[in-house]
């Protein structure tokens, strides 16, 4: 199979958007990063909240946490995105609906994609954190109780600092998954990296070059995520633990 490489394609003007093909890729790259960061923040907060909820000695709280996780684990991401864009606005009260539809359409879609992707990833983080908290030795909690600490204090000062350290490695892979999952948002009209790739395939007729360029884009994001997480892991690693100082 012979391929006539044409890397110059990226510097040619794109058919629309008043930019080059490289400009298309760059804007998709930025969109993937924006979407991932904002969804990541939601995922971390919501995941932490429900993860802690699921470990509390209260049946009601743990049922709520379980319901959240099961709903997001058993329904494909694309359907969550469709629900947030097409269904949720329909069932909201009139005033909120108007507010949403008054938004810039592209911002509306970005907002909904962020929420859907954030909640979806949050369900995974919730499970990781719950497992981490439950895998801490029971004696740690007992030692806190024996010292007279309250449950809130035990979580805040003893359980969570250790659970978050344990959760860092799986958190890294959840974040990487989330970056990849952000590509699914192209189905509801977010023009991120993979959407730009398919536009490139359509207009530029240089499939191999386009594919390689986009793959490199994802690799760059992956490396950034991994380096950031490695840095956090290194900074929070305890002296005397495996690999510590």
């Amino acid at each position: 199979m012979h391929i006539a490489w044409n890397w110059g394609i990226f510097f040619q003007p794109a058919p629309f958007g008043d930019t080059t093909y490289l400009g298309w890729l760059w804007s998709g790259f930025l969109m993937t990063i924006f979407l991932s960061i904002s969804a990541g923040v939601i995922a971390f907060i919501v995941g932490s909240f429900f993860g802690i909820l699921r470990t509390l000695p209260n049946r009601f709280f743990s049922i709520i946490g379980t319901a959240y996780v099961e709903i997001f684990r058993n329904i494909p991401l694309i359907i969550h995105l469709f629900v947030w864009v097409y269904v949720i606005p329909e069932i909201l009260p009139e005033s909120m609906k108007e507010w949403l539809f008054d938004l810039e359409p592209s911002f509306f879609i970005f907002l909904m994609a962020t929420i859907a992707l954030g909640l979806f990833t949050g369900a995974r983080i919730c499970e990781q954190l719950r497992t981490a908290i439950q895998s801490l030795p029971a004696g740690q909690k007992n030692a806190g109780i024996a010292l007279g600490l309250t449950l809130r204090q035990i979580y805040l000062y003893i359980l969570l600092p250790n659970a978050y350290r344990r959760v860092l490695p799986p958190l890294t892979s959840e974040m990487l998954n989330m970056v990849k999952n952000s590509a699914v948002a192209s189905t509801i009209g977010i023009v991120e990296l993979s959407k730009q790739a398919s536009q490139l395939l359509e207009h530029a007729s240089t499939p191999y070059e386009s594919f390689i360029a986009v793959t490199i884009g994802y690799i760059i994001i992956n490396i950034c995520v991994m380096k950031t997480m490695q840095y956090i892991e290194k900074r929070t690693r305890l002296p005397g633990s495996l690999g510590g100082k």
């Binding site: 030795p137 004696g139 740690q140 007992n142 030692a143 109780i145 024996a146 010292l147 007279g148 600490l149 309250t150 204090q153 000062y157 003893i158 600092p161 250790n162 350290r165 305890l238 002296p239 005397g240 633990s241 510590g244």
Partner: protein, 241 residues
């Protein structure tokens, strides 16, 4: 100081404590021993309500532990406890391990708490390690830190739940030495242990348990020279070579 009256506890169908009654006076050192699974660890954990009980009454320092209205956190802060697996908090430095509950529970200010912590670390011979983390210390050192952590709270009584059984043999004595010293100073202590040397040296009384029942509750002289029950005789024969 500690008074257990007719306490019983079940795990589902299984009864782990059967009608246990005993008393630990101020300044007394009581050693609890018995074969594994006899309920001795469970018994000591009922004293600060880490293990809830279904029947009976527990009074510690004139406070009724079993009363629902009791402020358990306040009571627990006066009852020091040392665990089999140390349970130091791995993410905190040694000195922070000692100050955490002082600041958060007793509301001491940071400076006062640190001063207290350093004094007690000095007392267990580990002042030089104050800024290290638990993972950097040996088991014996960690357990001495755990004792210091409990002492920081100015406890009226100390509970020890098999404090040396997770240690390598060469580290057992450094921990026992600290405990012996504590006993000589007049601390009220309840100790679950198999270390009969320790019991001989400092115990006022011995509780021998089997299958959830306190079978003997006597002076150490009586227990070692003339145990009443066959089960205690068996136990002593196995443990003392």
């Amino acid at each position: 100081m500690i008074s257990l009256r007719n306490i019983s506890k079940w795990y589902g169908e299984f009864q782990v404590l059967k009608d246990c009654t005993t008393h630990v006076g101020k300044g007394e050192v009581v050693v609890v021993c018995g074969p594994s699974g006899s309920g001795k660890s469970t018994l000591i954990k009922t004293v600060n309500a880490l293990e809830p009980i279904q029947q009976g009454t527990i009074i510690v320092d004139n406070v009724n532990v079993t009363n629902k209205a009791t402020n358990l956190a306040k009571l627990r802060s006066k009852v020091g406890m040392v665990f089999q697996h140390f349970e130091l908090f791995p993410h905190l430095s040694i000195v922070k391990n000692l100050t955490l509950a002082q600041v958060k529970v007793l509301k001491r200010d940071e400076e006062e708490a640190t001063k207290k912590a350093l004094t007690l670390l000095d007392r267990v011979g580990l002042l030089a390690h104050a800024q290290k983390f638990p993972g950097q210390l040996s088991g014996g050192q960690q357990q001495r830190v755990a004792i210091a952590r409990a002492l920081c709270m100015d406890p009226v009584v100390m509970l020890f739940d098999e404090p040396t059984s997770a240690l390598d043999p060469e580290m057992v004595n450094e921990v026992l030495d600290v405990m012996v010293e504590l006993a000589y100073e007049g601390m009220t202590m309840m100790v679950v242990t198999h270390e009969m040397g320790f019991a001989r040296k400092v115990a006022n009384r011995i509780l021998f348990m089997d299958e959830g029942t306190i079978i003997e509750d006597t002076t150490k002289e009586q227990f070692f020279t003339n145990p009443q029950s066959d089960r205690a005789k068996d136990f002593l024969a196995k443990i003392i070579h």
